[in-house]
């Protein structure tokens, strides 16, 4: 009797294992080698032992085995079954190990399904429910582990997912219902056990659990759109969490969801989003922005409020330049909305008084960037009408945009220069062709970080190339602006030029050396052109009615200064540039000529000298002798005999072509530093009224050659005194020279104290023609300042004076 009982015992239990009858069949044939089976059997029997610590250790051992074995084979089922049995153990460390093991098994099952292609949705749902039932465990680690396990699930049915969000039990007849009917589940493990685990999870007392719940919420979003939408509601609530780590994790989750396109923001979420944009924490703000750059906003109203939020954020934290790139990508993602914004902005620009639109305003900058992003948007099939005035205003922001965006975008931005300069030209908008500009496409946060980091590195090394590139674009713009001087209002041209210069200045701050010199040269160039445009305007006006002569005088003087600077203060100008500068000098002189009507001998000599120089430069044919120069030369040759020159300046101006050089070579800017050590308004130098005072200067000169004539100009009230600097006394090479020298100032005033304004000037050679007479023993030619004026404070030692 004993024997018969024993032998018949294993029979029924093998024929029909109650827990996993459905799965054992197909797996049976796929048993692998004997290795894991022995381990599994030993561990499973230990897991059923009496002592909790041994049970927990056995489960951990099983987990190690499961990690080791392949997806096939019955070992996984075996471990899974064992873990399920211990899921409700009294000891929390056992529950923890069991949950972990189930999570591992779920991964293996999912992997197996992927290989075989046969999905077993019911089994996945079952595991999901089992893990869910532990998500309300009283032990914190178990809850965390349960959520971590849930995050790894694959192919969970929508009904179960939705149930996990809602505390209320959703009664459905489909899918989930079948599980209950199939009686596969133990009596306590039925559908409602998943109810609201996330609703509880995100309210958990421990932030670690909340973080885990948040991660899982996001990870599961890929299975169901409806779930993703509802999960978003919960995630939005979590942005108010009191722990920063949770808020950051929430944003990370939202970012991931947005990256994979499961994030559909609704109006009710906007309030929360906008609040995070102005969060006190920079990381939170940054993360919130990144999400905004990815999401799709269904309504114009939401789009506008997002923009407003970003602008507010920009105003509060102007140092966060990446807002611009976010604005750009938002605009790009919502082509038609951006076009709408552009339209409104254009209206605003046109109604702005006197064209004075303050580009420094963050709002205008932000809206401009959004506007120009419209053409690169995906809605290419729609015809997006971006008013051209937007582009001309956006040009100066190019630098800001390009530094905020990656290089990819910069390529796209090249379209900007075309419509911007020629609003009347019938050129279609050149949008960035193809979808290669998807800067914010599918990338994880880390990926984006890496990209940004890489771009930054590349930008650093290719900085100069980049600047040169954008400057070239700008010069093209300037050229085109010049071309439209007839058709456009002076204001518009002036605005373009002024903003261009601003932009150059922005670059100039960061750069040094040859690039810096080039940029400062450009500044002068732009100034000169602006002057020419303005002078031209004044001259044309003068034809009709009189206008105060002073403004013209000032402009002429300004133009002279700019041109002189370009001529004298830069070394290494190539021939093309030299010709251009000379042409500008010529033009400046012609202006003077036309202003005074009659020309002196001196003036004629000067013109002659310039033309000769031009001639000489172009003689070998390396440079083109322009129509302008040619005409001037012919006019000059024809009229020179009688000593007067009747100049129709308007005619010349018409011929004058602005043709910026394509190649700039290596420019060097002459500059100087002038210092008086230890002197300031608090510590003045002593002097005796009426007697000369010696001031000790530290001077350093950069890029000054031995032939240059440098003067130190000292100036107090009416008295100006020039002192020549003997360059041979300087130490150093051509690049940097320095010396300390004591220079006396003779005309000290009869005052208690005075301020001596000192500055270094360089003489501009103009052949042998003397413009200035050496009245005070000063420079023969016109001069250009090399540095800013330095104030030297002097105080009288005379006691009488003090009284």
């Amino acid at each position: 009797m004993d024997g018969s009982l024993a032998s018949s015992d294993p029979g029924p239990s093998f024929a029909k294992p109650p827990g996993s009858s459905g799965d054992s069949g197909p797996c049976a044939s796929r048993s692998s080698g004997p290795g894991p089976e022995v381990e599994v059997r030993a561990l499973v029997s230990m897991a059923g032992g009496l002592y909790p610590l041994a049970r927990a250790e056995a489960l951990r051992g099983l987990a190690a085995v499961v990690e080791k074995v392949g997806t096939s084979g019955g070992a996984v089922e075996c471990c899974y079954g064992c873990a399920v049995e211990l899921l409700r153990d009294e000891d929390q460390s056992i529950r923890l190990a069991a949950v972990r093991l189930i999570g591992l098994c779920a991964e293996k099952f999912a992997g197996r399904e992927e290989v075989s292609g046969i999905g077993n949705g019911d089994q996945m749902d079952l595991i999901f429910l089992q893990l869910s039932s532990t998500a309300r465990d009283m032990c914190m680690q178990v809850r965390i582990e349960a959520f971590n396990g849930l995050a790894k699930m694959q192919r969970v049915s929508e009904g179960v997912l939705l149930q996990s969000l809602s505390k209320k039990v959703i009664r459905t007849d489909t899918g989930s219902g079948s599980i209950c009917k199939a009686n596969k589940l133990p009596p306590k493990l039925i559908f409602p056990c998943a109810a609201g685990i996330f609703a509880h999870g995100i309210e958990d007392e421990f932030y670690q659990v909340r973080i885990a719940a948040c991660k899982t919420l996001g990870a599961l979003a890929k299975f169901s759109g409806q779930y993703a939408q509802k999960a978003l509601d919960l995630l939005m609530d979590m942005m108010n969490d009191d722990t920063e780590a949770v808020r950051l994790q929430t944003l990370q989750t939202l970012f991931n969801m947005a990256t994979y396109g499961y994030l559909s923001v609704q109006e009710k979420h906007m309030h929360m989003f906008l609040a995070t944009l102005i969060d006190a924490n920079a990381i939170v703000r940054n993360a919130a922005r990144k999400i905004l750059g990815l999401v799709n906003l269904p309504k114009l109203q939401m789009f506008r409020s997002a923009l407003d939020g970003l602008i507010t954020s920009l105003e509060k934290n102007p140092e966060e330049q990446d807002i611009y790139s976010i604005l750009f990508s938002i605009g790009k993602n919502h082509g038609s909305f951006s076009a709408n914004v552009a339209k409104h902005l254009a209206k605003e620009i046109s109604t702005a008084p006197n064209g004075e639109l303050i580009l420094d305003k963050h709002r205008i900058q932000a809206l401009l960037i959004v506007s120009i992003s419209a053409p690169v948007s995906a809605d290419k099939h729609k015809k997006l009408d971006i008013p051209s005035v937007i582009f001309s205003h956006a040009i100066p922001l190019l630098g800001r945009i390009s530094s905020a965006l990656g290089e990819d975008i910069i390529k796209d931005l090249s379209y900007l220069c075309h419509p911007s300069g020629m609003p009347f030209a019938e050129k279609g908008l050149m949008s960035g062709e193809g979808g290669r500009s998807e800067f914010w496409s599918v990338e994880t946060m880390r990926g984006t970080h890496a990209l940004i980091e890489k771009t930054r590195k590349e930008t650093n090394c290719s900085d100069e190339v980049l600047i040169m590139g954008s400057m070239r674009l700008m010069l093209e713009t300037v050229e085109e602006t010049w071309a439209m001087r007839e058709s456009c209002g002076i204001e518009e041209i002036r605005t373009i030029l002024r903003t261009c210069k601003e932009e150059v200045k922005v670059f100039a701050i960061k750069s040094s050396g040859s690039t810096g010199a080039f940029l400062s040269f450009l500044c002068d160039y732009l100034d000169a052109i602006r002057c020419i445009v303005e002078i031209r305007q004044l001259i044309q006006l003068e034809n009709s009615y009189a206008i105060g002569p002073t403004s013209l005088d000032i402009l002429l003087e300004k133009l002279d200064t700019y041109v002189r600077r370009m001529k004298c203060c830069y070394t290494g100008l190539n021939r093309e540039l030299e010709v251009q500068v000379l042409e500008l000098v010529l033009l400046a002189n012609l202006f003077r000529l036309s202003k005074f009507g009659v020309c002196s001998k001196l003036m004629l000599d000067k013109l002659h000298w310039i033309i000769n120089q031009l001639d000489g430069l172009c003689a070998d044919g390396s440079c083109e002798f322009s129509d302008f120069s040619n005409t001037v030369k012919q006019t000059f040759d024809a009229n020179v005999i009688d000593g007067t020159l009747v100049v129709d300046i308007c005619n010349f101006l018409k011929i004058f072509r602005l043709k910026p050089a394509k190649d700039f070579g290596m420019l060097n800017a002459a500059s100087a530093v002038l210092q008086v050590l230890g002197n300031n308004s608090e510590n003045p130098l002593p002097y005796i009224c009426g007697l000369p005072v010696g001031v000790s200067f530290d001077i350093s000169l950069s890029n000054i050659s031995g032939h240059d004539r440098i003067w130190i100009r000292m100036n107090s009230g009416q008295s100006i005194q020039h002192a020549f600097l003997e360059l041979s006394c300087f130490e150093g090479n051509d690049e940097v020279k320095s010396c300390s020298t004591v220079i006396p100032f003779y005309a000290t005033p009869l005052a208690c104290s005075f301020v001596l304004r000192v500055c270094l000037v360089i003489e501009c050679p103009s052949g042998s023609i003397c413009t200035h007479y050496e009245e005070h023993g000063g420079p023969r030619d016109s001069v250009v300042q090399l540095c800013d004026e330095l104030n030297v404070y002097l105080v009288s030692t005379d006691t009488e004076c003090k009284n």
Binding site: P17, S24, A28, V40, M272
Partner: protein, 559 residues
């Protein structure tokens, strides 16, 4: 053995919680509350029934092993001084430290209201309260206390709060006599708060769970949503230059909202002042600081770095600030604007439509808070002569008390007791929950009315010794089994391992005055001194040949 459960109060009603449980001859009284709705003898539990149920004795001290109070709400502790001082119970009383600290305040407050305001006859004096509190033995969480030789009790964190008063120190109580074990929950909360944690308990082997069921049918929505609405309303009001009045009670609620606002202020970088009316902070924060171990994890964590109740953006309110221009947020007592400072401020601020008044979830009828909640009145009469034109906005804070039905189900599922008794709830809801527990969790569930007794069978474990031969026999049997199995497993599959039921055969011998023992068949025979008799059965197939023959004969004859 059985557990006898006599419900003296809170049976199919809310109020005067009092359950007397008899386990293994030990009688424990859980809670000793009073009913706030009655002013006659119905206000206290009918203590006489305890004596009726205990015929062997005539006084309470010997009838009851101990009294355990879960928390300091009057419906859980209100009758205690009466029971000890008037009825004369002198046995041990257990409660947690915070409860012991806060209970006398509550009791004395109520006694004053009863005697001074209503002019009722004094049931017990202040001295009675003090004498009663002297008998109290404070317990810590998870501290196991051996009440007497058999009875063991242990308190667990219950995290309960009520809308009026956040409750520190609420506990669930585990009691065990022999093998019979039970848990009495008191009021508890399964959703954590900003400053109070969620209930925490271990998985125990229980025969009985007595749980509250205030929200037996309700499922509350997310706490976050309510907080968000609150913050949104407050932020909107102050950003438009309005003033926000938040009437609160001294303990708990103000702290909760203040943590919330302070946090939000910090994040949003708001500079608008948050005021606490004097008195609120001093008393309440003192208790909270004292009892930091009873708060939520976040508060505990941050306590080492900074005192979480020292709010960064909160300052004290001076009476002269009432008419100051500009936005602000003010916490003022009492919570239902029934008078005092919050009424004074309300009178001034309610007339502007820019201002906002947030009301607690529950207001007693007759208070201004109640009037504001029921519809939106435009004019409120404070007394015969004064009235207030109400133009301000009103936001209702629905921070609700107690755990919801989901929480009850979760706890019940987690503890997995054999039986559940519902108390502290409304009858129809309890019936609903009973059905759910029975159908979904498969436990038997009861919801007795007051003064009813439920008897619950308990499991009883018995120690049995086994003979050496029996054990060796078993082991040999198993070894053979597993050998056979291992052959099978390696050749087929592994799933059989889980169904390893170790069967063994033996004979249980229970003799009087001897420990029960299990032994083998031959040992048993030896013990009896008899030989083995075997009875064999032969299968016997009934045959009806005669009938069949007769039938055939019949057939033949008929032909």
């Amino acid at each position: 053995m059985a557990i006898e459960c006599l419900v003296l109060g809170a049976g199919q009603e809310v109020g005067k919680s009092c359950v007397v449980v008899t386990i293994g001859g030990k009688r424990i009284m859980f809670d000793c509350g009073m009913h706030m709705g009655y002013h006659d003898c119905n206000r206290y539990p009918d203590f006489a029934r305890i004596l009726a149920a205990a015929p062997e004795t005539t006084d309470f001290t010997s009838a009851i092993s101990c009294v355990i109070i879960t928390h300091f709400h009057l419906d859980h502790i209100g009758a205690l001084p009466y029971f000890t001082e008037v009825c004369g119970y002198h046995g041990p009383i257990y409660m947690t430290y915070p409860t012991k600290a806060l209970a006398p305040l509550m009791l004395e407050d109520y006694r004053k209201v009863m005697v001074d305001q209503r002019g009722e006859e004094e049931q017990y004096s202040y001295e009675d309260i003090l004498r009663c509190m002297k008998k109290v033995i404070p317990v810590d969480l998870k501290q196991t206390i051996q009440v007497n030789r058999d009875l063991v009790i242990r308190a667990y964190y219950a995290g309960h709060y009520l809308s009026k008063l956040k409750v520190l120190g609420a506990a669930m109580v585990y009691a065990k006599v022999g093998d019979a074990a039970m848990v009495y929950t008191g009021d508890y909360n399964m959703t954590p708060d900003r400053h109070l944690g969620a209930a925490q308990i271990e998985r125990l082997k229980l025969d009985l769970l007595i749980t509250e069921s205030t929200y037996a049918k309700t499922i509350r929505d997310s706490k976050h949503a309510r907080e968000r609405e609150f913050l949104k309303a407050v932020h909107k009001c102050v950003s438009e230059g309005g003033k926000v009045l938040i009437p609160t009670f001294a303990l708990g609620r103000a702290q909760e909202l203040c943590i919330l606002l302070d946090d939000y202020w910090e994040r949003m970088n708001l500079k608008i002042p948050i005021y606490f009316s004097a008195g609120l902070t001093i008393q309440a924060n003192m208790y909270y600081k004292m009892l930091i171990g009873w708060t939520s994890q976040k508060i505990k964590d941050s306590y080492t770095v900074q005192n979480p109740f020292d709010f960064k953006h909160v300052c004290h309110f001076e009476r002269s600030f009432i008419n100051d221009p500009g936005p602000c947020v003010l916490f003022a007592t009492p919570g239902m604007i029934s008078g005092g400072f919050s009424l004074e401020v309300f009178k001034r601020w309610a007339t502007s439509d820019k201002n906002l008044v947030t009301l607690p979830g529950y207001c007693v009828a007759g208070t201004i808070g109640h009037k504001l909640m029921s519809g939106k009145p435009t004019r409120i009469d404070i007394d015969k002569d004064t009235h207030v034109d109400v133009r301000c906005q009103i936001h209702q804070l629905s921070f609700s008390p107690h755990t919801d039905s989901k929480g009850i189900m979760d706890l019940t599922e987690f503890l997995s007791p054999n039986h559940v008794i519902l108390v502290h709830g409304e009858k129809p809801q309890m019936a609903f929950l009973k059905d759910r527990i029975e159908s979904e969790l498969g436990m038997s569930c009861y919801y007795p009315a007051n003064n009813e007794t439920v008897s619950i069978p308990t499991t009883q474990n018995m120690k049995i010794s086994a003979t050496e031969k029996f054990i060796t026999n078993c082991a040999a049997l198993q070894a053979r089994d597993s050998l056979q199995k291992s052959d099978l497993i390696s050749s087929i599959h592994l799933s059989g391992v889980n169904e390893d039921e170790r069967l063994a055969e033996g004979i249980l011998l229970m003799e009087k005055s001897k420990a029960p023992k299990i032994l083998c068949e031959d040992e048993f025979l030896k013990l009896l001194g008899t030989d083995r008799h075997s009875v064999q059965f032969e299968p016997l197939l009934p045959s009806r040949i005669e009938e069949a023959e007769a039938a055939i004969v019949d057939d033949l004859t008929s032909e």
